[in-house]
């Protein structure tokens, strides 16, 4: 048992932290979110240059061989800076599936361009009827001669409006994973913005026809990959949530030290002090559990699966408390679009809603 960072980990955390502090102001973030793609293409190019798009992939695939701990360090800083770029969608989710399930040719075609920043991809997690049970896939892939015919509907696909490539789980005696170019005939994309300043899309697949070259891994055996990538994504957004909670706690304390009412800073009011202590505690407890969960997954202990649900539950409940209190203690300022706090709150809310909410994961802990 050991909490110390390796040299590489220390440098990584440091460089992402510096980027967020020096290159990624709130104004920049809002401008990126307001752009046509909903993220900063320049910013993404910087991520590639800094090697972050390569971080979680094996060296053999041109990656930096990072694991859950490295992703955690990066995402925590991204949370702190409220980074809107589609790292989760593109690298952790779509990249994660490709890295695990694609063959060499497929990796060359899709994973390398992702790492290089030349391809945007998206994994379809949810369907309209399956709420948080990503394995309950009703989109069907049917064999027809040499081809597969895919029909179904996918909900709220992160980065779905920007993606050149969709990774689509479909039912075919088990779950199969397909990589589909977004311009494949039969794919209809309804793009929209999301409340956290990002973008997503609903996708309808109608008689989409592809050959085996689109199949990632063996037919009907994609669930293990799908599950593993979802777990990775949960750890990643949990780390992001922890970064957000830390930022919100800091910002709220700072605001309350400076906001004067009744002739004194409101931070001098004991009732508010105790509530900020509760925010800090929720944030610190979440960080502690994040460390445990991420290490458990990195070390592949028996507890790993439970740890993933535990941390998602934790950031769901703690995130709600910290986010709501941050708004409340900022008063009208917390309600203003012009002020960063509300945007942190909204992203924290979104994290609570995706990949299984707190209730869902607490329930999983009973089984």
């Amino acid at each position: 048992m050991d909490f110390s960072l390796s040299e590489f980990q220390g440098m990584l955390a440091d460089s992402v932290g510096k980027f967020v502090d020096n290159e990624y102001s709130f104004a920049r973030r809002m401008a990126n979110a307001d752009s046509s793609t909903g993220y900063g293409e320049d910013t993404w190019a910087s991520f590639c240059e800094l090697g972050w798009t390569a971080l979680p992939f094996p060296e053999a695939d041109g990656g930096l061989d990072g694991g859950p701990l490295e992703t955690m360090l990066l995402m925590q800083q991204f949370g702190r800076g409220l980074v809107v770029e589609p790292y989760l969608a593109n690298i952790v989710l779509a990249g994660g599936v490709l890295c695990r399930a694609a063959n060499a040719a497929q990796k060359a075609r899709w994973l390398q361009p992702i790492i290089a920043g030349d391809l945007q991809a998206a994994l379809a997690i949810a369907e309209p009827q399956n709420r948080y049970d990503h394995a309950a896939v009703e989109t069907r892939a049917v064999r027809d001669g040499d081809t597969w015919v895919i029909d179904g509907k996918k909900s709220v696909v992160f980065n779905g409006g920007n993606a050149d490539l969709f990774v689509i789980p479909a039912e075919s005696d088990g779950i199969s994973l397909f990589a589909l170019a977004s311009d494949t005939p039969g794919i209809d994309v309804q793009r929209y913005r999301t409340v956290d300043g990002s973008t997503a899309a609903d996708i309808t697949l109608s008689g989409v026809r592809v050959d085996d070259g689109a199949l990632l891994g063996a037919a009907g055996e994609g669930l293990a990959t799908f599950d593993a990538v979802i777990d990775d994504a949960i750890l990643a957004v949990a780390a992001e949530a922890v970064g957000i909670m830390q930022a919100l706690t800091d910002k709220t304390v700072e605001y309350c030290k400076n906001r004067v009412q009744f002739g004194v800073p409101i931070g001098s009011f004991q009732a508010l002090q105790h509530r900020m202590v509760d925010m800090l505690t929720a944030s610190e407890q979440s960080y502690s559990l994040l460390l445990w969960a991420t290490m458990a997954c990195a070390d592949r202990t028996d507890e790993a699966k439970r740890a993933v649900s535990a941390i998602k539950y934790q950031v769901g409940t703690a995130g709600k408390l910290v986010g709501q209190e941050a708004i409340q203690l900022h008063g009208g300022m917390g309600m203003s679009w012009e002020v960063d706090v509300g945007h942190y709150f909204k992203r924290l809310t979104v994290i609570g809603q995706i990949l299984g909410n707190a209730d869902w994961h607490l329930d999983r802990l009973l089984d």
Binding site: P128, V156, T194, Q324, Q328, G331, G332, G334, V350, Q353
Partner: protein, 400 residues
Amino acid sequence: MHVSLTPEESAFRDEVRAFFRDEVPRDIHDKQARHIALEPEDQVRFQKILYEKGWAAPNWPVEHGGTGWTLVQKHIFETEMANSNMPRIVPFGLGMVGPVIYSFGNDEQKQRFLPDILQSNVWWCQGYSEPGSGSDLASLKTRAELDGDEYVVNGTKIWTTLAQYADWIFCLVRTSTGTARKQEGISFLLIDMQTPGVSVKPIITIDGSHEVNEVHFENVRVPAANLVGEEGKGWTYGKVLLQHERTGTAGVARTQYRLRQLRDQAGQSVRGSEPLCKDRNFMRRIAAVEVELKALEYTELRTLAAVSAGKAPGAESSILKFKGTELQQAVDELFVEAAGYYALPYVPEQYAPGFPDDQRIGAGTETDSASHYFNFRKASIYGGSNEIQKNIVAKHVLGL
């Protein structure tokens, strides 16, 4: 002690219910059901229908156009209005400045302003908060200096709801400085928004909507005749108004209605899936809020019974305010959680008039849940933050 309605009360309930069902235009019903924001004209049209029926101002004295209803009738009216999913009454005229004018204004002011308020001819807004004075309202700095028979007003009001539509604004302004207590020297002034020097600057809130504003006053000349009551006594009038406002903000009937909507929504299956109402944990959370709402309904009735027995609405109304808004917000949360992934899409255009329902993202109004949740975080902040309400209860009810 009885909870049942008398036959007369039941008949009244049926009358109110039928009125909302039959006399309010279909397009208003329809917009409400589909979460389409009402235009100001819709709002005025609705309020004028109430006026025609004589029901515009149930809480006003009969001589000024009130209904003379009993406490129970008022409760029935509120409940049926919520159950019929009617628009909220824009409160600034009928709920706020009206009572101040009929309580503290002179006869000329009553004749000049009350009929237009009652008929919703004039849109009012409320100028209380300032950038530096939020919870500490009495520290307000907007100055009104008497110059002949006019006040010259300079300063900034903030979080002014729907000022972009307003014809008039009622303001707390400072008419003298250097008073012993900062609550002294504040006056209650009515200002025509068309007066030169008044400007309105939008504030966009975190849900992306434009509801609130900054209102700037630059050498705005206001006739002294627009001063309500005595100069320097505005704080007293404003406080009475705030207590009225707090009682109103509990919004129990409306939250109960929304909770039933949520139950209906949870009962619906999406494409053959098990409906959310099979999730006992979620339903327990609904039930828990429902119990608290029922309790608050009776807390409000008890408070109003005390008022109708002659007591002014006192510090107890603060409990209604903070508990009522907590429960509103609890229901907002449950809507967001019910929506699952469909809480994420931000598609305000699909809640604009004319957008075809079948092209909406998500089922029903799921995608409106997060915006509503974000927007109504304001509820625990405005009208005196919930923390201020707890201070009031601690001081004036508990004597701490």
